[in-house]
Symmetry: C2
Subunit: 194 residues, 2 copies
């Protein structure tokens, strides 16, 4: 494992998604892996941490998540712009070697089966809370976060450090047609608490 | 109505939220209005456009949304940083004059009852699709977007123009403890389509 990767307290895992980044969704079942990009992932609860994720029925990922009961969300960065776009626009249904073509490098963390994408800024492994009505009607999945990690070069002591880190670590926020925005200049309110 | 506000095609309404901004949630019932901030709002579908929104049971907004069947999401900007923080940290339950204290200026758009917050970059009026199990178990609401508008000084022809607009129009992405990030520098992938 990359020695900059450290666990994130589960109570602070929501902070990895709170600023609304586009994420990569990885999944695996019986030796088949996939990774797709998703802009429609969101925190749902603090403790235990939960997330929502929209997974279209047409994707390869959908079946892998339904069969394995797990998915991982990871926060890609500017250094991974092309890869993020490629895994988000190509489908493994039509391009079986999609992951090789997009230069996706997968790794695992001890104790967890989910494949994770190397080079990201943060990772959340999620166990599906089965909600068949949501899944069928809205393509909406709910997952409980069972493990979270971040790269200490951009997320440390429970906080993103985009303003201190190299700009290549900035998260990606997809709009449409190949256009992303990166975050972020800090904007801080005087709370009186500090 | 501010003459820079223009309707957004419903098929493109998801683009107002796709980059993951913190939003303001406004609601109204029988003459009581409220506005709160929420980082946990997300697009759910393209057409008809739908969104998800987490509304805690402790909030005043929760009852107003359940009773009226409507909420509005709006995208605040850097010019509204303090107000966004204030409506997100004060509760109308304990501070009945919260909206006055936070200098929230409400307006309406013809044909819609939902109060909207003036000065934002975009607005989406949403009709609740009742899902009692999600609402009770997860505080998760699903809404169908029935109207969408944006300020043409920052969103035009279906696209955000953060790179061209005055920085005061940049959207806010909340992390924790009064810390937000603003978006955004553009990052564009060569798609071969243009």
């Amino acid at each position: 494992m990359d020695n900059h990767i450290r666990p994130v307290e589960l109570e602070k895992a929501y902070r990895l998604l709170n600023h609304g980044p586009t994420v990569l969704v990885s999944s695996s079942h019986e030796g088949t892996h996939n990774v797709m990009a998703a802009a429609w992932a969101c925190a749902l609860d603090f403790s235990p941490p939960k997330v929502t994720l929209v997974i279209d029925k047409m994707t390869k990922t959908r079946g892998l998540v339904e069969k394995s009961g797990y998915f991982a969300l990871q926060v890609p960065n500017l250094d991974q712009l092309q890869m993020t776009f490629d895994v988000g626009t190509q489908s493994k249904v039509f391009t079986p070697d999609k992951l090789d073509k997009a230069n996706v490098d997968l790794f695992r963390i001890d104790g967890h089966d989910s494949p994770l994408v190397a080079g990201c800024s943060a990772w959340l492994i999620c166990k599906v809370i089965p909600e068949p009505h949501n899944q069928q009607t809205y393509d909406l999945f709910i997952g409980e976060v069972v493990g979270a990690w971040a790269d200490t070069r951009v997320f440390k002591d429970g906080h993103w450090e985009f303003e201190k880190a190299d700009p290549k670590w900035r998260s990606l926020h997809y709009v449409a047609g190949g256009h992303f925005y990166t975050i972020g200049e800090p904007a801080v309110v005087e709370t009186g608490d500090e």
